[in-house]
């Protein structure tokens, strides 16, 4: 495992333990989905990586937060989302945030959305740009396949020309 990734995982683990100790209502996405009826309307703390895009709707916005088990939608005021700098995608590890808010399994004011209405969002660990190194084995495979392809192409051309020169040949 690359040292940087290991370091991030370690930090996230420490942050999770700190958040768990600090907030009584710390939950995972799995717990929210499996115990939706019991947790409906309860104050919770949910922690994870912000992924995708910020989707502003008026003075509020939707963000999606992913933990180890799944992804949960969070409805927050635009003001609360200002601190978020990195949204997770192929090129980025998103900010790890702790969301304090109220959980709804079908929010009546948001046309039945399964979500957390955020009262506070805190950056636990900032995101970063992911540098993807090209796998050298893949480059070698491409070279080998290209050479084989050229040889095959030549063979095909040779057969095609031979076929043309022998029109009476039965196939």
């Amino acid at each position: 495992m690359k040292p940087k990734i290991f370091f991030v995982i370690l930090l996230v683990f420490i942050a999770a333990q700190t958040a768990q100790a600090q907030y009584g209502g710390w939950v995972t996405s799995q717990a929210l989905i499996k115990n939706a009826a019991e947790l409906d309307g309860e104050a919770v703390v949910f922690m994870g990586e912000v992924i995708g895009d910020l989707m502003p709707r008026g003075n509020f916005a939707w963000i999606n937060i992913q933990d180890d088990y799944g992804t949960i939608g969070v409805w927050a005021s635009l003001e609360l989302t200002k601190e978020i700098s990195y949204f997770g995608d192929y090129n980025h590890k998103g900010d790890i945030v702790a969301v304090e808010g109220t959980f709804f399994r079908a929010d009546p004011e948001l046309a039945g959305e399964f979500c957390i209405r955020a009262q506070n969002i805190r950056i636990v660990f900032p995101g970063f740009f992911i540098f993807h190194q090209v796998n050298s084995l893949k480059i070698k495979i491409v070279i080998v396949l290209s050479v084989l392809m050229i040889l095959l192409g030549g063979l095909k051309l040779f057969i095609f020309k031979t076929e043309k020169n022998i029109p009476s040949r039965k196939l």
């Binding site: 989905i33 502003p56 999606n64 799944g70 992804t71 939608g73 997770g88 399994r105 796998n135 095959l152």
Partner: protein
Amino acid sequence: MILRPRIKDLKIIGFYWGKLTIGLSLFMALPGILSLSLGEIDPMFDFIISALFCLMMGFVLHILCYTKNEPKWMHGMIIVSFSWLVAAFVGAVPLFLSGHWNSFLDAFFEAMSGLSTTGLVLVNDLNHMSYGHNLWRHMLVFLGGQGIVVVVLSFFIQGIQGAFRLYVGEARDERVFPNIQRTARFIWVVSLIYLTLGTMMFGLTAVKEGLPWGDAFFNGLCIFMAAFDTGGFTPYDQNILYYHSFALEMVTVIFMVWGAINFRLHYILWSGQRKELWRNFEIRTFVFTNLFVFALIALSLSNTQVYDNFLVVFRKGFYHSISAHTGTGFQTIYPVEFLQEWGGLALFGIILAMGLGGCVCSTTGGIKALRIGVVAKAFYEEVKHYVSSENTIFVSKIHHIKDIILSDKQMRSACLITIAYIATYFLGGAIGMIYGYPFIDSFFESTSATANVGLSCGVTSPSMPTILKLTYILQMWAGRLEFISVFALIGFVVALVKGK
């Protein structure tokens, strides 16, 4: 006496496989170019490797099996049924190289799920996948939805009489034009026009709902391909729930319904005969069963009181009713919610909708509305026969593009395919139960796989047993090809072993 296939037969089959793999390699250029333009260099190499691998495979088959013989019915069926396995195999190569799947089998499962327009997924960390790989996943749905053989027919096979045999093997038996290649091209032209309009429609709505322009249109392209081809893939692991938008959900409902309609009916509508939409027997059956299923779901959701107003019941219930019935598999709830929150009647409704499917000659799976209507008509006629005098002669008539008098053969064929689907739903369910899943979970997932729907109640995951993964792969494949080609393939293998 069973005749053993000769070298000549194997050559015809191999020759057309070669064409297919060469065709697929060309399609891999698109995600490769996208990766390059976005600076995703490592994913770009995945597509170069896969394209070269396909080209090599295609050229080898082309050289070894070169023939000018036309495929007969048997060849057409074998070419099609094997081609789908070959396409899933080569389609899985770039997916596996991305590192988002635990094993090649998982990548093969995903590729088959895409090609068969099912939408069940085994991907890990989808939210961090490259644009190139995500586009390829959705392109698999689009290519599979149009029919891989239709793709080959449109671009690589010129003026052969055997084309219709390949076309039929792919579970399409209605011609829009007398010429099968014109039909194939019509399907492509119409699909590309819809693709452009659909991407614009979703993209603009997504911009209005707060997505940045670039992502809005990329999502639009992917979601349209997955919705119109009733596939059910999305670029994020929350599926359609990611967008938190009623407006976008309604846009996808339009795509799903549009994709579930018979392609021949699309042509009729394009030529201005809009009344056909209301007169068509299959559309009437489809609307009736949809309303029936939604009524079941709404009743169940009202009883369980999981949602406290009708708007939410409509938003969730109607959406999943359409998603299941069209065989798309888009979800706006988490998989376990089906089991935990929705109640038995709603689950029954969803399974029923998945099992029934959309219209024939469309991209949907399942039994299909025309067959359901014909079987219902056959039952009705049978009952009428018992209560009428012996000398009465009944004529069963339906209006499907034109007035059709139903023959016993047509009714028997509809009943046979219906029985084959139902048997496969139960067979897959039984295998799930062997591995310890409860009846309802395994039956739900088995129906979803066979009917190429893609809704999941949580059984499908990277950690599920290998045998169950293989079972679902076979179900998706057989369901997409409506069994006939698969039966032909079994016959071919038997002939290879026991033939003289």
